[in-house]
Amino acid sequence: MQVKLIDVTMKFNDVVAVYNLNITIESGKLVSLLGPSGCGKSTTLFLLAGLYKPNNGSIIFGDKKVNEIEPENREIGMVFQNYALYPHMSVLKNIMFPLNMQKVPKKEAEKRAKEMADLVRIGHLLARKPGQLSGGQQQRVAIARALVKQPKLLLLDEPLSNLDARLRLEMREEIRRIQQEVGITTIFVTHDQEEAMSISDQVLLLNDGQIQQYNHPQYLYNHPINIFVAKFMGNPPINILETMVDKEAKKLILTSNEQQMMIPNKLNIQTIQDEKIYLGIRPEELFITSLDEGALQGKITYVETIGRDTLIRAAIGDEPLRVIIPPDTKIKIGDLVGFGMKEDRIHIFDSTGRNISQQLT
């Protein structure tokens, strides 16, 4: 089922939780709602579920406007951020509840509930009450309860936040597998960009209740529309360098320490309107070279090897710089080195933070 939000705004008294949301979610796709805490992710889900009514705008399921349709008639499944399992019902009863409400015969309901429980690997916990489960087990019960009635739209509010790293990875693959198998349109809230990148067809990045960018996850990574998106996507985060534009000398000057920077070849400095721009460059797109070949010079302050990567931090004057280098590079803390950058991978943002790389080349 295709889901469309048109000009949707939601206010709580004077707090604008969601502002003028316009998106279309194609049928059968998994869309991640990504953003920092308090940006309106849960609110957006509640609007889709019908638990909140928007102050403005339309919500359309398929070709039907559902603004006035109550949640119980919207044919949705939802995992709440705090699970909201019924404390007085056993795990089995919890999972069966949506089926009982649909008047599915008891035998069949029980069979389907058990299958679903096995799928999320809680088949051995059916007789327990939610209070007797760990956070991760509760979360899986909640997922089973949301999926069991095979809803037209599945809404997941941070469904994996309480699982350990391995289970989290397994469950997200599981969710992806079930989602693709059933072909159910799914909206998956998370504030973990890596999780969003790995399972979604599209990522909707929100900040302060407004859409920042809505596209394929890799597209957001490669073509962030503004500094916020660039910073949010990717770990370790992108380096942002504030520079002044010196059109006469054809130079960029780092604001923080007046170090001059070689201008990337592709950049036509005369077309820049602003005096100040931001350069965005991802840690993996920087490399160490000799001092005079580097676009920047800095001192290494920190070296850390995590698994297959070595992450270093360097100080360009006072400005910190994160770089990922091959683990066999011979460097140590205190070394003064030059940093080169893959020039076609540099993002240029104007003084308001908008990405202007496209206009400049």
Binding site: A49, E72, A84, Y86, P87, M101
Partner: protein
């Protein structure tokens, strides 16, 4: 702090507790023990406080006394009439007050007033409400073509009148407790149930009722105990009489009558102990049922 009790700390605690202990001792514990002893006085000289004979005579007497059995029967009818009605009505009102309505605080106060008003004052008003010729109740029933009912003077209607008064009197307290219970239910469960396709009716059945059960349980225990002890309402509503031809004679009224009117202290004490045992048994049964059906 987890300090071991010492002689000194215990004495100190006793010192602080003693005023309350003394009052409870004189007015509660001593009478309980004394009346237990008195229930076995078969032959007793009240003026000189001499017991000539002890035995089970008092218990045998009340077992054979038709009035005592009538009082028992009336009390049971009263309990069965008041408790379920009171719980259902107060739950209904609490549910309404728990929704978003105008003047919610005002209505809560209104419903709580009967609880804090004296029974005697309330009963005087109700005697007027129940009046056969000028009563409000008959006036209203008249609109529906019902002939005037002699609420307080017809033996068949005395007990219903008493039940109506008592239900109304108990509403305030029950509503407040139910409201507190309702507010304690996390709203999330209702949201989840909505998403799971439960209509308002099913949300009530599957969420409200079970999650409210500890409250309902508490209220039912308290109201059953209170109803078994009904006396003031009878005394005030029927002008110090146990209703026309004893139609509203309750066990506590029987005890009162034996004690203060007939000065049969032994019999009164024996009846009090029988009532105590009945209440005790009922509470045990309720605790047993509660254990299996109440969700904490």
């Amino acid at each position: 702090m987890n300090v071991h009790p010492t002689l000194k700390s215990t004495l100190k605690a006793l010192l602080y507790l003693s005023p309350a202990l003394m009052i409870i001792g004189v007015f509660n514990i001593y009478p309980i023990i004394k009346s237990f002893a008195m229930s076995f006085y078969s032959d007793y000289d009240y003026f000189n406080d001499v017991v000539y004979e002890r035995g089970l005579d008092n218990f045998i007497y009340i077992m054979k006394d038709a009035d005592f059995w009538l009082a028992m029967k009336n009390t049971f009818i009263f309990v069965i009439g008041v408790v379920p009605l009171s719980i259902i009505i107060s739950l209904g009102i609490a549910l309404l007050l728990n929704t978003n309505i105008y003047l919610r605080g005002f209505f809560r106060t209104i419903f709580f007033i009967p609880f804090v008003t004296s029974v005697v004052a309330v009963s005087i008003v109700w005697r007027w409400v129940f009046h056969t010729d000028y009563g409000l109740l008959n006036y209203f029933l008249g609109f529906f073509g019902v002939d005037p009912i002699s609420w307080l003077t017809d033996p068949a209607w005395a007990m219903p009148s008493l039940i109506i008064l008592s239900v109304w009197k108990g509403l305030g307290y029950n509503i407040i407790i139910f409201l507190a219970g309702l507010q304690n239910i996390n709203k999330q469960y209702y949201l989840a149930a909505k998403v799971d396709g439960a209509t308002a009716f099913y949300r009530f059945i599957h969420i409200t009722i079970p999650l409210l059960s500890p409250t309902t349980f508490f209220i039912s225990i308290v109201s059953i105990i209170n109803s078994f002890k009904v006396f003031d309402e009878v005394f005030a509503l029927f002008d110090r009489r146990p209703g026309p031809v004893n139609s509203a004679l309750t066990v506590v009224y029987y005890i009162f009558d034996k004690f203060y009117v007939e000065w049969e202290f032994g019999i009164a004490s024996a009846a009090a102990y029988v009532l105590f045992i009945v209440i005790f048994l009922f509470t045990l049964i309720q605790l047993y049922i509660g254990k299996r059906n109440v969700h904490y």
